[in-house]
Structures are given as C-alpha cells and as structure tokens.
Symmetry: none
Subunit: 204 residues, 4 copies
Amino acid sequence: MCAALNPAHVPTDRALARRQQVLDAAAECFRRRGFHGASMAEIAKTAGMSAGHIYNLFENKDDVIAAIVERDRDEIVRRIQETLDGEDVMEAMLAAVEDSCHQPDRDAEAALNLEVLAEASRNAKLARVVVNSETVIRRKAMLLIQTALGPKADRLPADDIEARASVLAALFNGLMVLSVSQPDLKQAAVSRVMQRMMRVLLEP
Amino acid sequence: MCAALNPAHVPTDRALARRQQVLDAAAECFRRRGFHGASMAEIAKTAGMSAGHIYNLFENKDDVIAAIVERDRDEIVRRIQETLDGEDVMEAMLAAVEDSCHQPDRDAEAALNLEVLAEASRNAKLARVVVNSETVIRRKAMLLIQTALGPKADRLPADDIEARASVLAALFNGLMVLSVSQPDLKQAAVSRVMQRMMRVLLEP
Amino acid sequence: MCAALNPAHVPTDRALARRQQVLDAAAECFRRRGFHGASMAEIAKTAGMSAGHIYNLFENKDDVIAAIVERDRDEIVRRIQETLDGEDVMEAMLAAVEDSCHQPDRDAEAALNLEVLAEASRNAKLARVVVNSETVIRRKAMLLIQTALGPKADRLPADDIEARASVLAALFNGLMVLSVSQPDLKQAAVSRVMQRMMRVLLEP
Amino acid sequence: MCAALNPAHVPTDRALARRQQVLDAAAECFRRRGFHGASMAEIAKTAGMSAGHIYNLFENKDDVIAAIVERDRDEIVRRIQETLDGEDVMEAMLAAVEDSCHQPDRDAEAALNLEVLAEASRNAKLARVVVNSETVIRRKAMLLIQTALGPKADRLPADDIEARASVLAALFNGLMVLSVSQPDLKQAAVSRVMQRMMRVLLEP
DNA sequence: GATGAATGAGCCTTCATTCAT
DNA sequence: AATGAATGAAGGCTCATTCAT
C-alpha cells in the first residue's frame, strides 16, 4: 500500500492476485488458440483487465507463458509429493496412468503443453524455464521411483534411476502426443499396456 | 507428353520438383523459426523462388505443412518396411531406439514435429492429415509388432496389438519431447531403459 | 463520465471524432481512387493516424464505406427535411434540380456514389446498408411528394406515391451518371427538361 | 494464316473470334465479381484459354473492359435502330420502359454498368471510351426523339432535343441504379410513372 | 494501479503482367 | 497461336508493445 514499505520489484499481494488472474486467462486462451493465436488483447479481456496493464505485471508475452510453465511445474510436483505421501506408490502410479489415458480434457492440456514445447525449442529463455522445471520434476520423480523400488533401489546406479525418471516423463508426454495424433485411442487396451510399462519401470 | 492424357490438375514433373524444393525449404524454416515464425517470404527465398509462386504449387501455408507431414509419413513407413524386410526385427528396433537416443539432430526433428502437433491441436485440416498419417504408420507398426511376436501374436486380441503400436509411438514421441525438456539426457542409461521397454512391448 | 453509464462498446467522444476524421479521409480517397484503388494506408495517412488504428475504430474497410453511406444518408434526409420546412416545396425541388445540373463538383460526388453502388451490387453487407439507407430516404421523399401534391395526394394510392419517389431518386441518380458519361452536358437545356419532369412528378 | 498476307496489327478472323470469347467471359466475370474482383486468370479460365494468351489479344485488363463497353454500345445502337425501323416509336419506347422495370436480370446488367462507370470516373482512357459510346448512343437517340415528336420537332432547338436524349439516358440509368438501391421495387407502379415520364419526353 | 489510444512492423495472400518455350 | 511458370508489388489486417493520462 505504501511505497516506502514496499521495496522496488517486490510485488504486492494485490499484484500477485492480478498475476494469477492473467495466468488463468492466458492458460485458457493458449489452450484454445495456441501461443501465437492468442492475442494479448484476448487474454486481457478474459482476465478482465486492459491489455496495457498486463505489461505492469509481466515483462512480455513470453514472460506470461514462462510463468504458466512454472505454475504447472509446482502443481505436478505437488501431485508427486501426494503420491509419495500415500500408502502404495505403485498403486498410485498405475491409477495415474489409467487417469491419463481416460481423462477427457487431455486434448486441452496437450494443446498447451505442445505449444510450450514447440515455442521452447526456439525460444532460449522459455527453453531454460522448461528445462529447469523438468529438472525439478525429474528429481522429485526419482524419489518416487526409489520409493517404489524399495530397498533394492540402493543397489542401482544413480544414472539408472534418473533414466527411469526420464522414460517415465517420456511415457506421459508420449501419451499427451497421442491425444492429438490418435484421438480415437483404444483407451482400455492402451491403459493396460501402459500399466505394463509402468510396472517394468518401477520394479527392479 | 500428350495433353489429353494430362488433365488440368495433374502436376507436371517440373511442378513436382518445385514442390519438393518448397518442402525442403519450408521444413528448414519451420524447424528454425516455427510454423508461425517462418514467413512465406523467408520460405520462398530459401527455396529460391518468389513468394507468389509458392501459391501456384500449394493452396496456402497450411497446405505446405500438411505436405511435409505426408512426406515424413512416407519416410517413416519406408523405414518400417525396411525393418520388416530385414532379418531380425527385434534387433532392428533396439537399434532404432539406440539411434533415437543418440542422434545429434534430434532437436531439429523435434522442433518441427512439435510445431506440427501444436498446430494440429487447433487446426482441423492439419489435424486430419496428422491423424491419417499416424493411422497409416500405426497400421504398418502393427505388422512389425506381429512379426516380432511371431506365431504367438495370433493368440492376442487385435486391440492389444494396436495398443502396443500406440505405446510404441508414444515412446518415440516421448523421446522427442525429452530432446527439448532434457537436452542433457543421460543417453546411455536412457537407451538401456528404453530398450527394456521395447523388449517388453515386442514380447508376449 | 461515469464508467458505469458507459458500457464497453459505447464509443467515447474522442473515438467519435476520430471516426469522423477517418470518414472524411476515406471519402476523399475513395473519390480519388475508388474503393479498391484506395489503400487503408493511404486513408490512414490522409486521416493523420496509423493504419492499424483505423481497425480500432472500424471493423474493416467495408465498415468504413458503410459508415460513409450512412452519413450521406443523414445529410440527404436533413436536406429533404429542410425542404419540407420551407415555404414552397415545388419551388425548392426545381431549384434542387437546377443545382444538381450545375454544381461543379458533381463528378466527385458521382465517383463516390458509383463506387458505392458498384461495390454494393456484389457485397451483401454493403448492399444491405445501401438498401436501408435508400428506404429511409424514400420514406422521407414520399412525405415531400405528398406535401407538393397537396390535398389531392389523399386520392392517390400509396404505391403511386412510392413509385414517384422511386422515379425521383432515379432522376437524380441518372443525372449523377451523366456527370461521368456526358461531362459536356448542355446544362441549361437539361435543367429545363429535368424541371419539366419534376413538375410532372409533383403534380397530380 | 500467312503473316505476309496479314500486315501488322490487322487481326485475323481467328483472333477476332478469340477476342469475342474473351469478351463474353470477361463480361460474365465482371458481372459476378466486379472489375477488380475478377482476375485475369478467372477470365482466362472462363474463356477457355490461358491467361497469358489474353495479352496477345488485348493490351491489358482496361483494354478488355473498354472493348466490352464498345460492344454494348453497338448492341444498344442496334436496338435503337430497330425501334426507328418499327411502326410506332412511342409504343416501342413505352414497351422498353416496361421491360426495363421488369426484366429479372437487371441486377447483373446494373452490376457491370456501375462497375464500368465507377472505373471510368477515375480511369481517363476508359472514360474516353464511355463518353464516346454515350455520344454515339445519344446521337441515335436524338433521331428517335425527333421521329417520335414528328413534324413539330423542327420547331424545337437542337439543344432541347439533345437535352431530352440526355434525360432519356438518365431515366434508364436511374432505373439501373434502382435495381441495386431498391431491389423490391414496386414494378407495376414504377412502370406506370416511368411511362408517364417517357410520354412527356417524347411529346412536344 | 489501470486504461485504452496509438503505433508500426510484418504477415499471408492475390494478381496483372511478362516471357521462354 | 498458345501455354503456364514465374515475378514483384501491393494490400488488408493483426498484434505486441508503449505511453499519456
């Protein structure tokens, strides 16, 4: 409220709330129209503010999508932690696979993620954010894999655990791609095969 | 040679060659700058012709990327056929996985594929082309899987074979995503885990 | 003044003034170069603003010419009303005919009107605007004709009054065409014949 | 056939026939899409020849529309001559008015004529062609008016006859404009009023 | 904090016209 | 005579971004 109490660049609570509004709006617009297809004007309208004001909250359009990536990362990390906190990790992962195959709004998620990845493959700044996010997620996933493996995990080299985490990510990302390339997926059968993969990945 | 045998819309050899020029140029530009980032002017310049002339060869920009997708599909189908024609399918697939993990220009490939998928997730016409292409590829991949499974394949339901093909595609696509999200991939270790997945997929 | 009283799409005074600037500029450019010949860039430059900004004030180029048509309509209706408010309608109409034959900038007017009509004959949206405008004008002209006819007007069928209004419009429009097809018009003689027509039209 | 027998610039019969093909095609295209809306490619296709070849028959696009104007002029002159050759000029003119009000493809004719006039109002070369055509037509129409007036015509000044011809043209052109600005014209009533005008014009 | 007017660069696409064959 | 490949200029329109208020 008072500038003197609020050193430069430290956003106020109000600003943080406004940022969330923008991120919600932007995520929706990017999903619907893609990163390039969604205009700042459209995002602003969806967020209920003027286009100009977004530039008080974010550096530019890239900065907005970067913030979305980071928010998504936090959500994923939170979900992995939940799994870790649960009783049966393997059970939870199989359920996650099942979910991923069936959830009906996979397409919208996929659209946004693909947009981010495509953009990241030629936007260095966004690439950095994506890589960092994935690193954080992978580290968390490694914990999960070790938990699933149980005591035997200790006998495996660290590289092997990390590789399993990478392939775990690849499987989920591959599933995401399928939602575009094969919209009429035989969900039940694919879910079964995917669960098979998951078991192999989480067992020594 | 004879006009009567060459109805209006059958492209001449020259036109076909020019189309290839455009596709080569466009693939390169899309890789470098993305679908929206690459301008028709840039593509034309790369292809060594005027921007206007591209519109004598293709309906519009979408048509260009669609043709790229179809050309890539043919190349993939050709490679699968080669594998089928070879001696040991399993061996070939493990080598393909190994290759996929190491090949240094994975990034460029990935950039283009992600661009296509992202665009397809909100461009109905391109989506149709992508889905059709993937269907053709999947059908071919099912043959490959059946060959790998050998006589036991007959005991498995068709849906299971198709699901394996879907997951096969997911694995390769997931690997492609990794080239963006994890550029410092531990290639050797990942290759090992991926090969493990492949074996499970191709054995009953 | 109060935002609550000024919903999103109600243009501000400033916006209205800017729109007038654009209409003035566009009318001039259309006259000089025709609807297709005049570029938005040229209009923008003439109006003293950027081309992009015109699209904050108008939907597109069609919308600009439609607005011109509506503004012209209002001006014509106003002039008819003035005539109705005057003492001697017949006298005023004869003077209007005289004016139409002599006024030296008839050509510029004609160029714009012909442009509008030509465009309207194959642009459905503009056609609707033109037809509506002409309907409003004709209704007003019918009042004028009834006034000129005096009490005897009541004995005439409504269709006859409307037909006279239509022919009245046809005469003025025909005169406009002459300014293109016969620039060396014998103005005095034509004026005399036209006034004859007018008298026939306005007398029972 | 043999160039030696065919001095420069004198078109062969074949060339004349090809020109007619182009004019037919162009008239149709201009009617449908307007002068600017119709592309040379479209005209060529409609005429059943290549776009390039049109440039062997006509100087450019303007030249094509100019030729259409001249062909139309000849047709109109021919029709006036027919009327002159008939028994009762007045009767014929009243019938012509009736026709003009009812003929259902008035719109297509109007579209083309308006296009020509609009273009002529800012294309000097086409303007010259239009003005010349109208002059020829008017001269012919003056004959017609004198015939209708009978012996009393001799007492009228030449300017008066010409002015009547001008207004005659204005009436028909005005009717043409109505087909755009008032498509739901009350044809019967308008026809009656128009015939009244015609009678006044053709009687002393 | 918040607005929205304003810009200017750039993009896809079209088209009249030319020219080698 | 005839084709159609090829060009290059231009045009309508969009949009991220800035800035005065």
